[in-house]
């Protein structure tokens, strides 16, 4: 606990200090970004359930979760990459390229397991290409993956032309459209849940997670402390490529086809989730549960707007405002905390200097 949380003993009685105590509590709450996102999500659910018919029907929930599936899956590896001060904005293009390659397999009557294996292999290669340029050649991740975003997408059009591949194998269709047993949980979201659990456990519970945080916190120190930062970052890019490959299969299932414009623009959803989830743009900080809540918040906001028949244009505006708003709030909260910490420190040190 830091100094801002406990007011100095001299001020406990005055009303002003009580206000500041309350303020401290709020600020402490704000500092737990996942707590705030969870609160916002529950608020949207409550408002939606009270005001929008069919907001919480199994069908509404299942379709909302399925639509979210591919972007949410890609968000977790990207969150880890952002924590190590990298980023992968080529994920949607990677998803499309992997789907295109596996589409060639099943268009030629190849067996589905081969198509899946091809997708995963191409995803790993795409990730390795990004990883090579960023981790080995030390080029900026934003620029490298901006380049591969265009490159991979271009390859999709070269491979597929303008004609989508359809029909798709039953496995893909089931992945995109079916639910698990009799539950409302769509298979489309299952890989994202697995990715969230893996990323969450790795980041907080395993040595690899500490290396990820150390690399993002201070790469030089991490290297001198024995962290193989290159290998770590390279591995995260490959993981991102693999996640994109699975996301590509899901998206192919959702859209019943493999098209060159598959998941076009989805990197924006992915990045929105990561940054709304409070992952630091500067690296070194981030929480997987907060990214989960960010994904849930976006999902319910979108469903709320959708069922109010709000246009796609206005939905984009709202999501943009939420993202900017979240940055403003985190910034203001940390500034407030910083100011209170400083004043508390100076209040404690003042008597020492005067005596």
């Amino acid at each position: 606990m830091n100094a801002a949380m406990k007011p100095g003993p001299r001020h406990t009685s005055s009303p002003a200090s009580r206000v500041s105590t309350a303020l401290s509590t709020v600020v402490a709450g704000l500092r737990s970004w996942s707590g705030l996102l969870a609160g916002a999500t529950l608020l949207v659910i409550a408002v939606g359930a009270a005001s929008v018919p069919n907001f919480l029907t199994p069908f509404s929930l299942a379709t909302a979760m399925a639509t979210l599936g591919p972007a949410a899956l890609m968000a977790f590896p990207v969150a880890l990459l952002v924590i190590t001060r990298d980023i992968d904005i080529s994920v949607a293009s990677t998803a499309a390229l992997t789907a295109a390659c596996s589409g060639l397999v099943f268009a030629a009557q190849g067996p589905t397991p081969v198509a899946v294996a091809v997708a995963l292999a191409v995803g790993a290669v795409c990730g390795a290409v990004n990883g090579f340029f960023v981790a080995v050649l030390e080029l900026p991740a934003l620029l490298v993956t901006l380049g591969t975003l265009a490159l991979f997408r271009g390859l999709c059009y070269v491979i597929l032309g303008s004609t989508p591949i359809s029909p798709i194998p039953d496995f893909y269709a089931a992945l995109g459209n079916n639910t698990v047993g009799l539950t409302i949980l769509p298979w489309a979201l299952v890989p994202a849940i697995v990715a969230a659990l893996v990323a969450g456990v790795v980041l907080r519970g395993l040595p690899t997670g500490r290396r990820v945080l150390a690399t993002g916190g201070n790469p030089a120190t991490a290297r001198y402390s024995g962290v193989r930062t290159r290998r770590l970052r390279f591995g995260l890019f490959v993981a991102s490529g693999l996640a994109a490959a699975v996301a590509g299969m899901i998206q192919a299932g959702l859209t019943s086809q493999v098209s060159p414009d598959l998941a076009l623009g989805m990197e924006l959803d992915v990045i929105t989730m990561v940054f709304l989830g409070g992952v630091s743009v500067l690296g070194g900080k981030g929480s997987i549960p907060a990214v989960v809540w960010a994904a849930a918040l976006l999902m319910f906001i979108r469903k709320f707007l959708q069922l109010n028949n709000v246009s796609g244009y206005a939905q984009g505006i709202v999501i943009g405002v939420v993202l900017i708003g979240s940055l403003v709030v985190t910034n203001a909260a940390s500034a407030l905390v910083e100011r209170r910490r400083r004043s508390a420190v100076s209040a404690e040190s003042t008597p020492a200097t005067t005596s």
Partner: protein, 348 residues
């Protein structure tokens, strides 16, 4: 600590979601409407419209016509949705929305053929009747397709219009969109075939085919180049919505319009002023009629008054009788040649 609380909440929420579903059994759309056991609606019909893009003026014209038809027949429940991205995937949430809202029928103009098909099948499973219009979706995921114009006739009609304007005599050119454009190339083939087979066009001569690349400035420039390169040129056929207004403007500004006539394909509202001069004729169809026909098709389908069967007939107020063709297709009619006389009946 915060981390654990958040995780625990997330796990609990997830568990709650899944268990709610367990008790409800299957996941299907909720139909909160007056549909009977056989899925047929007896009362007012709730129709949802999914355009390619919500703000597309063409689609807004269809929407207005559907709303007018709904008001006229006492069914005023039309939900017009508004995707902001002209991709099939972007239409999926809107299909799901209409299923959740329990509409009886969906009218959709598919941004692509397949993307919405799984979602539309869920709609059909929930008893919702699906009608595509303007741009078809996979035939298994809809009942009817209301087609605005027999595209095979467009080429012939553009040539007819040109022949009438230049008295079936002299040189003319084609200013198409791109070299690979499928529709345009099919129309140009029709024009060539008709020229060589129909004696009425014996004195007409197609001198060249140029390409405007779907850009207004390229079309203007190419139109002027054609006029200057072929001094005896009597007319240009411009089978592209961007090209025809651009060519008309360029020729008009430079004083060539009149000496050179234009025919082609474009929304009437974009070329109305040039049609009025008598030097331009446009091949188009009545977009509000498309909206009216698609709306009434959806309503009658939801009421089980019609089925998408080859040869079935039904009538639509104000438009007359229509016959269902192969694969559930209904044709609005042949594309019309728009002249100064009938231009006012084309609001789009």
């Amino acid at each position: 600590m915060r981390f654990r609380i958040a995780t625990a909440t997330a796990v609990l929420a997830m568990g709650a979601l899944v268990s709610t579903a367990c008790s409800s059994g299957t996941v299907s759309g909720t139909s909160s409407t007056t549909a009977g056991a056989n899925g047929c609606v007896s009362g007012p019909v709730k129709v949802g419209i999914i355009p390619k893009l919500g703000t597309d003026p063409y689609m807004v014209t269809v929407k207005n016509a559907a709303e007018a038809a709904a008001a006229a027949s006492g069914n005023s429940d039309v939900i017009y949705t508004s995707p902001s991205d002209a991709s099939g995937a972007a239409q999926i949430p809107f299909v799901n929305q209409l299923i959740s809202q329990g509409v009886n029928a969906i009218m959709i103009s598919g941004s692509d053929v397949n993307s919405t098909s799984a979602a539309l099948k869920k709609a059909q499973d929930a008893g919702i009747k699906v009608v595509s219009f303007d741009s078809d979706v996979a035939s298994g995921s809809r009942g009817f397709f209301v087609n605005q114009a027999d595209t095979s006739l467009i080429g012939a009609q553009m040539l007819t219009a040109m022949g009438d304007m230049i008295d079936h005599e002299g040189d003319f050119a084609v200013l198409s969109s791109t070299q690979t454009a499928v529709n345009q190339n099919a129309w140009i083939d029709t024009i060539r075939a008709t020229l060589s087979s129909d004696p009425r066009y014996a004195k007409m001569n197609l001198v060249t085919v140029a390409y405007g690349e779907e850009k207004a400035d390229v079309n203007s420039q190419k139109a002027l180049e054609l006029v200057r390169a072929y001094p005896d040129l009597k007319g240009i056929i411009v089978p592209a919505g961007i090209g025809l207004p651009a060519a008309a403007e360029a020729l008009s500004k430079n004083g060539y319009l009149g000496k050179v006539k234009l025919s082609g394909l474009a929304p009437v509202s974009l070329v109305k002023q040039y049609i009025a001069t008598g030097n331009v004729q446009d091949v188009w169809w009545n977009v509000p009629d498309l909206g009216t026909l698609a709306y009434h098709t959806a309503v009658q389908y939801a009421k089980c008054q019609i089925e998408p069967k080859d040869g079935a007939k039904y009538s639509v107020p104000g438009l007359g009788e229509f016959t269902v063709g192969a694969d559930g297709q209904v044709l609005l009619g042949p594309p019309t040649i728009v002249t100064p006389q009938n231009t006012d009946s084309f609001p789009f």
